[in-house]
Symmetry: C2
């Protein structure tokens, strides 16, 4: 679904992609919506830093934010401009082939989608 509001200038898109932290954030958002607290946990970076980079991506028009109570969820939003969309897609696919990026995703899987605690049934130690 297209993002709509802000026009993504080509330059702005490339500038947004030219930063390690932002690429890692986008990588974690590939195909899913992610809460800020997970970004902080997985990337091991300060919360203000994460927040600033998310703001940058939002202004660049490639992610959208959704509030849910106290939490903010971010997700990638395909730019309306077809050219920008194809570049973003190429970038995301490239990220999927990177070892470190895969490791980040794996850690997010474990932190986010795994059961909170190992479930222990009484009497089964």
């Amino acid at each position: 679904m297209p993002c709509g509001s802000k026009s993504v200038s080509m330059i702005g898109l490339f500038a947004a992609l030219a930063d390690t932290t932002r690429l890692r954030l986008l990588n974690l958002m590939a195909g899913r919506e992610v809460c800020v607290c997970y970004f902080v946990e997985i990337l091991g970076q300060s919360q203000p830093k994460i927040s600033r980079h998310l703001a940058y991506l939002r202004q660049a028009g490639i992610v959208a934010a959704r509030r849910e109570g106290k939490w903010m969820h971010y997700s990638i939003c395909t730019p309306a401009d077809a050219a920008a969309a194809s570049i973003l897609a190429a970038a995301l696919e490239a990220l999927g082939n990177d070892r470190k990026m895969r490791a980040d995703r794996a850690r997010l899987d474990r932190a986010c989608c795994a059961p909170k605690e190992k479930v222990v049934f009484p009497g089964r130690s």
Copy 2:
């Protein structure tokens, strides 16, 4: 044909693409080798500025330079890294859809590849 020498970090590639002048240069080089003097003429920018941006692109590993006498010819060289190559390809394709970029290419055609003067056949006005 791959460029080889310098590894193109993803970040470096995006940074190289995040500048109007450099995108215009790449656009002019799409599918052909171009002499520096044409860049200067077509873009209407100072020679040192053009030269600096070409150096940046060369360091980023996405263009190659070839000397021929007093002249330097630049051309796009596909990065060895497949991910970088696909991103560069997507970028170039996107450039081809832009009005201003098309205009630049047209001007290069006229300056570089057109007959120097209109050929006039005698007796045909």
